[in-house]
């Protein structure tokens, strides 16, 4: 016969512990399953390696806390190292590759953001490694806007006050920092590639131009020598044909010059040499450059000017280039017997230049596109004007844009065209 205490003991075991044991035996598999499910979500698949993180803090208790909070998976798969000083962190960064560094702002040997400078100065890192330094997230017990501002100014991508840190917040901040850093590195690499390509293209054009222009100079000069009688008398017909050969050489030269201009604009190597220039000189040089062409095509070429005392603030060589291009285009697209005019007027503190003609005009459908590169309009007979590369107006517009001037067009098909721009008057 059992005692009372033995009876109580048996009852407790039967009616208290037993249910508890049963409960545990039922729930345990569920918990295990849940844990397994959670861990499955975090298992790295072949394409997603776990992130490599570095936590830097001289307070090892805090590092333990972070570790416990981070152990709850919020979708971030990672492996981490620890350091308790900048020096130790730098050593780890040199020998390992981290996706992100979480660092306390105040460390025994400096500010947490000093890691970036120390890594940049480190001889053990090559230039490519410096390009892809891990993003820094600063954590600080100070909290506050001032600490945050200081950290961001010093190069951190994010700042979290320690009091606000939860596992979810930390993992979210790390993910954002890594994504942003990867995008930035990718963009910088792409920019470098594009810049390198641009330099290559410019160098190619320079080389090509150089290799073509010397034999072109020889060819042109030999033809010119024969035309000028250096190898004996030439007939009128021979003179004409030799002149056409020289014109072709000059055309080739102009095409290369245009191509090089475009590459200079694209590579931002285009420079202006601005000075005060008498308006009269600019007009005279521009008109004399196209006078022969106008004569050959029987075009009346005139100029109407405000006065010869005015000076213009510009790069004179480039503005003469602009006016010559506009005038020669006007002559090219005007029928024999027509006229081309260069007007200059004062409007407020600027001189307005206008090149107009009574030529074929420009169709409305072409008017926006004619400033595009390589665009060629149809001539009167429906043929494309293929005497140029289609770069002239584009270059003209770019030169004026560098002067801060806009080139405007008004034109009517079958009536004529007018191109206009203005430049500041130089006031001494």
């Amino acid at each position: 016969m059992c005692s009372y205490s033995e009876s109580v003991s048996v009852s407790v075991k039967k009616y208290c512990f037993q249910p508890i044991r049963i409960y545990i035996q039922l729930v345990k598999p569920v918990l295990t399953m849940q844990t397994a499910l959670n861990e499955t979500n975090d298992l790295p698949c072949a394409a997603n390696k776990p992130m490599q993180l570095l936590f830097v803090d001289d307070d090892s208790d805090y590092l333990d806390l972070i570790s416990r909070q981070m152990s709850r998976r919020y979708g971030l798969s990672y492996q981490s190292d620890r350091a308790n000083s900048i020096c130790q962190a730098v050593k780890l960064c040199v020998t390992n590759t981290y996706d992100c560094v979480v660092v306390d702002y105040h460390l025994p040997d400096g500010y947490g953001t000093d890691i970036v400078d120390r890594l940049n100065e480190n001889d053990a890192l090559d230039s490519m490694s410096r390009l892809s330094l891990p993003p820094i997230i600063v954590v600080s017990g100070d909290g506050g806007e001032q600490a945050a501002t200081q950290a961001i100014r010093a190069g951190a991508v994010d700042f979290i006050a320690k009091r606000d840190i939860t596992g979810a917040a930390m993992q979210r901040a790390i993910q954002h920092a890594v994504d942003k850093s990867r995008l930035t590195v990718s963009l910088e690499k792409r920019n470098e590639e594009l810049e390198s390509k641009r330099r290559e293209v410019l160098e190619f054009y320079h080389t090509l131009s150089h290799e073509v222009k010397t034999p072109l100079a020889s060819a042109r000069e030999f033809v010119a020598l024969v035309r000028d009688g250096a190898a004996g008398d030439v007939t009128e017909d021979q003179n004409e044909l030799l002149g056409l050969a020289i014109d072709s050489c000059d055309q080739i030269r102009q095409h290369f010059m245009d191509l090089l201009e475009i590459t200079r604009f694209d590579s931002q190597k285009f420079k202006l040499n601005k000075e005060s220039q008498p308006l009269e000189h600019i007009i005279k040089r521009s008109m004399s450059g196209v006078a022969e062409l106008a004569r050959e095509r029987n075009i009346e070429l005139t100029t109407i000017g405000y006065g010869s005392q005015l000076h213009v603030w510009c790069d004179p060589q480039r503005i003469v280039q602009v006016l010559s291009n506009l005038l020669s285009n006007a002559i090219k697209f005007t029928l024999p017997g027509g006229w081309v005019r260069l007007d200059t007027q004062v409007h407020r503190e600027a001189i307005v230049f206008e090149v107009s003609d009574n030529g074929c005009g420009i169709r409305r459908s072409d008017q926006a596109a004619i400033f595009n590169r390589l665009y060629q309009v149809e001539q009167n007979d429906g043929q494309l004007d293929d005497s140029g590369l289609g770069l002239g107006l584009n270059i003209t517009r770019d030169i004026l844009a560098h002067h801060g001037a806009e080139l405007t067009l008004s034109s009517e098909w079958g009536v004529g065209s007018s191109f206009r721009f203005s430049l500041p008057i130089y006031q001494s």
Partner: protein, 121 residues
């Protein structure tokens, strides 16, 4: 006849320019590299030197600096000729005293105008 030293390594262009200068009534001595350039200039004492920038054995600017550093050649006008469009070439040429800059291809009038301006300076 007035003498010109032509320093140009491309044989065809050298021949073309020699013919042109003779047609303009100049006596021409031509060489094709940077090393011979100095010797020819010292020996011939020309009224003007036509100097290509890209030369075997050195570039035209180095030759020009040596010419300017020597008493016998420091006052001889130099016309740089080049097929290159690099703006730094024109800038460097402008830093050499008593010089001018001409880009290939050029015509006879441009050559004459440039030579006259350089000799008058």
């Amino acid at each position: 006849m007035k003498k010109v030293v032509l320093i140009e390594d491309d044989p065809k262009l050298c021949k073309a320019l020699t013919l042109r200068l003779k047609h303009m009534n100049f006596d021409v001595v031509s060489v094709g590299d940077a090393v011979s350039a100095m010797d020819a200039s010292l020996k011939q004492q020309p009224i003007l030197i036509l100097l290509d920038i890209n030369l075997p054995g050195g570039n035209g600017f180095v030759v020009a600096e040596r010419l300017r550093a020597h008493d016998a050649t420091k006052l001889i006008p130099i016309v740089f000729i080049t097929a290159s469009s690099k703006p730094e070439f024109a800038e460097r040429a402008s830093s050499i005293p008593r010089s001018a800059f001409l880009q290939k291809p050029f015509d006879a009038n441009q050559l004459m105008d440039c030579m006259d301006a350089c000799m008058a300076a």
